[in-house]
């Protein structure tokens, strides 16, 4: 019986896999659709300030089933989220004062209907919506906003990263209310990233007050995954209905949500929003194919198959453009000793890595185009800057270039490197150029890049020992023990706010991996271009106008582009698939597929075609 089953599978596989040759072109349908999307507008009906959807009116009811990979949320408390999944789950339930316009990246109103900034850039006046309510019927007022910022965020509850990044010259911004619907923030200095930080979620005071009074330890476990669904009082479009550990999170519509459609009916259209917790990518794909999932985000190699299935299936693919994640090669520039008097990096290797010609030669030897073709199946874009390709601060003047072995060899020669008859590379003191290249094992994409980088560098005569190791051990090497030579890693950044990358780029940053200093070392042994980077980030954060900030952040990208502490490889392009029955889909590069979840509805008529 078993053999029969196996034989059947094999047959099925053959039919499936031999698809016609695929071109990787998924047309950028996302950007065309995005242009036709208009943000909801403020309207006032019977003294209540609603947000009114501008999208076509839909049909109420139905469920959208999405997924999250991993172990599921760790907490539903929006101020405790230290991982992405928890942040998504609480983001569904708790709205902030503002959000990001998914098309333009500008700040757009959410719980607030508008704002003004004083001419000196220090005072932010926020106007709240009148008459809107929490899911339990209590009004959302200035008290909630002041409480959230004063007692939770500035009070150091939960994850303090927002507060820590807002300390300017040792001082925090202040917040005060004027009446029930006006809140005023003042920052000690003009601080541009602040406006975007106001999109932090707002907590209902009447629910959070006791938890805050009981102190940090209690707050850390407040509204954890053990909390009962009825304890949640939310402002967002959906509210927790059920959480089954390691299986799913189910949200139901918040009947008091403040957004309405063109017919003045309360949104969202969907009754339920379900996130299935799936362990890995393969399981996610299987669940999508078995129609248990409605939405899926696809990786390079899967896109081709889905593209060929699309025409006779019930789903449609959308191209969201380049990912915000960046993948890079970095060399360890650390030339200091540890507390036992031993060099972190072998001094012989230090000489190579600190040599700009060496780093540039490595850069020119790397064949980004063939990596995009072979590893990402063409679903990617070569990358040359630390800002991701969809960043509004991307420096477009920095030109891409191709692999150029001759140029790389010439640069090495200039620094005294030479090759012997067998093509092996030696430095000017006669040492064989040999080093370790690390990445995290299990990430097949990075492992594949590692193999290709190794081959590319061996064209220059270098000996590369490629060692994929376990993720946690690798991070330990990068940020604690500093005993590594070269690494392939990835980081995610915000396409809207380069200041988020300051932990990486400031010379005493916590993730300044390529030349990491211990907290005791401070800014010891700072390189001239590191000093320049520090300056750009300090100035960039304090300038308020976009145009001024762009100048500083352009310069920072240029420094990284020329000094090559990190050699960027490529950005994968995000492709998502969603069932045809869902309407009002306006995917954008910044917002993703479901940024307007409250406007998405199910077209019942298309069911016949679907199933």
């Amino acid at each position: 019986m078993l053999l029969c089953v196996i034989a059947l599978f094999c047959k099925a596989c053959i039919v499936r896999d031999v698809q016609p040759k695929i071109t990787s072109e998924v047309k950028t349908s996302a950007s065309d659709l995005a242009l036709s999307y208009s943000m909801p507008k403020n309207v006032t009906i019977n003294g209540i300030d609603y947000l009114q959807s501008q999208a076509p009116v839909g049909i109420f009811g139905g469920t959208l089933v999405s997924s999250t990979i991993g172990e599921g949320p760790k907490t539903f408390n929006p101020f405790n989220c230290k991982d992405n999944t928890s942040a998504i789950m609480s983001g569904v339930m708790y709205d902030g004062l503002f959000t990001t316009n998914p098309v333009t990246g500008e700040v757009a109103p959410k719980l607030a209907k508008g704002y003004t900034i004083s001419p000196d850039g220090k005072v932010y006046t926020i106007y709240l919506r009148q008459g809107i309510r929490w899911s339990d019927g209590k009004p959302i007022t200035a008290d909630d906003v002041v409480f959230t910022w004063q007692n939770i965020i500035f009070g150091g509850m939960g994850d303090t990263s927002t507060r820590d990044s807002l300390v300017i010259n040792g001082k925090l911004p202040t917040v005060r209310k004027y009446g029930d619907n006006v809140v005023v923030f003042s920052t000690p200095e003009p601080y541009a990233p602040f406006l975007r930080m106001l999109s932090a979620p707002i907590a209902p005071k009447h629910v959070f007050y006791d938890a805050v009074q009981k102190g940090n330890a209690y707050f850390d476990s407040f509204l954890s995954t053990n909390a009962k669904p009825k304890d949640f009082v939310v402002s967002g479009a959906f509210k927790l209905k059920e959480y089954v550990p390691a299986q799913r999170v189910v949200f139901e519509r918040n009947p008091n949500y403040y957004e309405i459609n063109a017919k003045n009916q309360k949104l969202p259209y969907l009754d339920k929003l379900v996130y299935l917790i799936v362990g890995d990518l393969n399981n996610e794909v299987l669940k999508f194919e078995a129609k248990e999932l409605d939405v899926i985000s696809l990786q390079g190699s899967k896109v081709a198959r889905y593209k060929s299935l699309e025409s006779h299936s019930d789903f449609k693919l959308y191209n969201l453009g380049p990912d915000t994640g960046t993948m890079y090669i970095s060399m360890n520039l650390n030339n200091r000793k540890n507390d036992k008097g031993k060099y972190y990096v072998n001094p012989i290797k230090q000489k190579w890595f600190s040599d700009l010609n060496f780093r540039t030669a490595v850069d020119y030897a790397v064949d980004r185009k063939s990596m995009v073709l072979n590893i990402a199946n063409g679903i990617g874009e070569p990358l040359f800057t630390p800002e991701s390709l969809n960043s509004i601060y991307l420096n477009k003047k920095l030109k891409p270039y191709d692999k150029n072995l001759d140029k790389a060899k010439a640069l090495l020669k200039k620094s005294g490197f030479r090759t012997d008859k067998k093509g092996r590379l030696f430095d000017k003191d006669g040492h064989r150029v040999e080093f370790d290249l690390y990445t995290n094992a299990g990430n097949t994409e990075r492992e594949a890049i590692g193999v290709m980088v190794k081959q590319d560098l061996e064209d220059l005569g270098m000996k590369v020992n490629f060692k994929p190791i376990e993720f946690n051990s690798l991070v330990n090497k990068l940020v604690s023990t500093f005993d590594w030579d070269m690494v392939i890693m990835g980081l995610t950044g915000s396409p809207l706010e380069p200041n988020g990358g300051k932990n990486v780029w400031l010379s005493d940053g916590r993730l300044h991996m390529f030349n990491m200093r211990t907290p005791q070392e401070g800014k010891i042994g700072i390189l001239p271009w590191e000093r320049e980077l520090d300056e750009m980030f300090d100035k960039g954060a304090l300038a308020t106008k976009f145009e001024d900030r762009k100048v500083y952040y352009d310069k920072y990208q240029e420094i990284v582009y020329t000094q090559k502490p990190m050699i960027y490889i490529y950005s994968p392009i995000r492709i998502v698939a969603i069932r045809n029955k869902f309407k009002n889909i306006y995917p954008t590069s910044l917002g993703g597929l479901t940024h307007n979840i409250e406007e998405i509805y199910i077209n019942k008529g298309s069911k016949i075609q679907g199933h």
Binding site: A12, K74, E289, V479, R510
Partner: protein, 323 residues
Amino acid sequence: MDTIKYIFKRILQTIPLLIIVSMISFFIIRLSPVDPLAELKLNPSVSPETVEKERARLGLDKPVIVQYGKWAISFVKGDLGVTSTGEKVSQKLAERIPNTLLLTAIVILLTWLVGVPLGIIAAVHWRSNFDRLLTVLTSIGMAIPSFFFAVLLLMFAVKTGWFPIGGLTSPNFVDMSFGEKFWDITHHLILPVIVLFTISLAGLQRQMRANMLDVLDSDYVKFARAKGLSEWVVIYKHALRNAVNPMITLLGFEFAGLLSGAALTEYVFQYTGLGRLILEAVMKSDINLVMASLMMGAVMLILGNLIADILLIITDPRIRSKA
């Protein structure tokens, strides 16, 4: 009375054993270069202050021996501590234990109900066609890797749409009636049970067959036959009672396996059992969770052996007189 004394002695013996097991596992986990805060440290938007706070909360700023002492004291008091994400370990385990028990209990029950009779039949009809067929089938069952078989069945489920793709319940589970709920869980359990059943059935059937063959070959069986007893009495009264002894020891191990789960199968089927939870905990060096599960495993193994020994005392008069 002797039996009770014996049990008491056995329980006392387990205490030093548990201490040694806990020390070895604690130090091995802590000495591995896995950093429980790695994910946090690599997130650019998390501030250094938060990382420090987490380090202090998890007690990672103290020497390993102090960490062990703290853990041991709270363990003795019955407090299993919190996971690296701040949830209660006891609660985390309590969420998963019923699921794993459900799966393993069904599998063990099925394999014993099917495996033992099949083993006896195969031994009695030694070298018959039926025996040969069973040998081939069990060889396949033993040779096929569980995860591979699980993946094959998953693909089967995707192709046919007859079975759900992993998990334990459907998204609309809460809105179902009792009958529907029962069917929903059964529906989800079929595939994982098939995998685990196939794998463990093979071993059990072969074991039983070998025991039975040994016994059938012994002098007292020959004597019983010579005496003219019916074949039925020879096999089920004389041979079987002797052949079943090693199986009881095996049952003790099966009991230990009740909670250790089948991590690989659980992982492939996205089954929310202990195996998957612990696998993920080990990857993240989530010390309290890993320690709790290791201790639980150790206790279950000791308990299983104890139960097997007691059962043996009951079934075998020879052991009874020695104890």
